[in-house]
């Protein structure tokens, strides 16, 4: 069953964000992580030393595993940052800072 219907939620109209250039849909109130998950994306960062995939672990802002680059700003916790119309979300490699 659709979880929105289950919770009798009636969110505002959907909007679009992009992930690595691809358009995905999000609903008001979703975090970046929620939007990515809803689009079937579970990994959006690679680890600094071994390049391993990372996504959500704790989901509540504690573990810093879900770091992602949003609107050119790296190291944001996807599980805490609200998704906003037009957000440009990109896979974060390593520290997310060029050097």
């Amino acid at each position: 069953m659709n979880s929105l219907r289950l919770a009798r939620s009636r969110p505002g109209p959907a909007f679009t964000v992009t992930f690595d250039g691809r358009e995905i849909e999000a609903l008001p109130g979703w975090t970046v992580a929620a939007a990515l998950w809803a689009a079937g994306i579970t990994s959006w960062r690679t680890t600094r030393h071994e390049g391993r995939p990372r996504g959500i672990l704790c989901g509540i802002g504690v573990c810093f595993d879900c770091l992602v680059t949003v609107n050119d700003r790296p190291n944001q916790r996807a599980c805490l940052v609200p998704a906003r119309p037009g957000d440009v979300i990109r896979t974060q490699e390593g520290t997310g800072h060029a050097d």
């Binding site: 600094r48 810093f64 770091l67 700003r73 790296p74 190291n75 390593g94 520290t95 997310g96 800072h97 060029a98 050097d99």
Partner: protein, 383 residues
């Protein structure tokens, strides 16, 4: 429980110092039990930066212990180096103004005479050493011997290497003594452990443990915050701090003191310290302390202004009134040994402390004169 609850020595406290005591005691052939009410590195060890410093120490017994300990760390690094993120990266102390630089130069000259390697860095060479430092500083001193480890990993690996029986999640409630006052072992919330020797490596809580043995050891908590940035490429190469840090470490004031201490880590985040205040075991967040840390760090490294701080943590340094640890046998309670009160230097001083304690436990002569660290030295002032 089928566990044999008798051993040669009980080490109380599974922080860095307890882990080092367990390691060297085990290597001296003793059967060791390591007991902690929490997990390994659950207290001050897990709340520090992992500094192994000589740069902040004036000539004297603590510096001698630090130099001895650094040699042992270098040996441990050969066994465990990458696993504990050991980095012989060096420290850089900078002075903002010419007067500060003169004082720093004098301080370094004294350290040099005591066996510390120091390299003066002129103002126009500072950026060769640390490219992202603020412009306009008066100069600095490079201390190549300063190192860093990741303290929680270091404690855990030392415990593992020791082979000691680790009893975590078990609280020692009393040091047990015979009617004549000699140590019999410890009582815990889950039974008694018999041993003829007990090592108090309970850090900031060492005073409480000593009290259960009927002796006074005035360890007080000195709170410090560390601010953690987002992970960055290596931009801060050394441990870098302002010359006034040394004065803050030596201060006796209870009020908030902060002086910027900035360092990169193997994992990427930059750690920013250091604050000191005596507020008991208050774990609440302090915006004034953390704000002062951020301001001080951006004065040293302006690029940090555009870097996000991700979190902060705090810990309680075990502070004794004369800023020296308590290391050695307690003549008031035969069989009780203390290895606590290392303030903010416990990670660096741990192997030396553990080595000295192991020597005492096995009846040998310690490599250093332990008189300055005598645990009963505060008796007189109490009366």
């Amino acid at each position: 429980m089928s566990e044999r609850l008798t051993c040669d020595v009980v080490v109380v406290g599974a922080g860095m110092v307890g882990a080092a005591c367990a390691l060297y005691a085990a290597r001296a052939g003793l059967d060791v039990a390591l007991v902690d009410r929490g997990p390994v590195a659950g207290g001050t060890t897990g709340a520090g930066e992992g500094n192994l410093l000589v740069s902040d120490k004036e000539p004297g017994p603590e510096l001698q212990l630090a130099l001895f300990s650094l040699g042992l760390w270098a040996e441990l690094a050969k066994e465990l180096g990458p696993a504990v993120e050991y980095e012989a990266k060096g420290g850089v102390v900078v002075a903002a103004a010419p007067e500060g630089l003169t004082a720093l130069g004098d301080f370094a000259a004294g350290q040099r005479a005591a066996g510390v390697t120091t390299v003066e860095v002129a103002a126009d060479r500072l950026h060769d050493v640390e490219p992202y430092l603020a412009p306009g500083l008066a100069g600095g001193v490079l201390y190549p011997q300063d190192c860093q480890v990741m303290p929680a990993l270091a404690a855990a690996h030392l415990v593992r290497a020791s082979g000691a029986r680790l009893l975590s999640g078990r609280t020692v409630t009393e040091v047990l003594r015979t009617p004549r006052g000699t140590v019999l072992g410890v009582r815990t919330d889950r039974g008694v452990i018999h041993a003829p020797a007990v090592v108090n490596a309970a850090g900031t809580w060492g005073g409480e443990l000593a009290a259960t043995a009927g002796v006074r050891l005035p360890v007080l908590p000195r709170r410090g915050f560390v601010l953690v940035t987002e992970p960055l490429p290596r931009r801060v190469r050394h441990k870098v701090y302002a010359a006034d840090y040394v004065a803050d470490v030596a201060s006796d004031s209870a009020a908030l003191h902060t002086s910027p201490v900035v360092e990169g880590t193997a994992a990427g985040p930059v750690l920013i310290g250091a604050s000191r205040e005596r507020v008991g075991f208050d774990r609440s967040f302090s915006l004034p302390a953390v704000r002062a840390l951020a301001a001080g760090a951006t004065r040293l490294f302006p690029f940090l202004e555009r870097v996000r701080a991700m979190r902060s943590y705090l810990g309680f340094r075990p502070y004794l009134p004369d800023h020296l640890p308590a290391i050695g046998a307690d003549p008031r309670v035969p069989g009780l040994f203390h290895a606590c009160g290392h303030e903010g230097a416990g990670i660096g001083l741990a192997p030396g402390t553990g080595h000295l304690i192991a020597r005492l436990l096995s009846g040998g002569v310690p490599e250093l004169d332990l008189a300055p660290f005598r645990p009963e030295r505060f008796e007189r002032e109490a009366r």
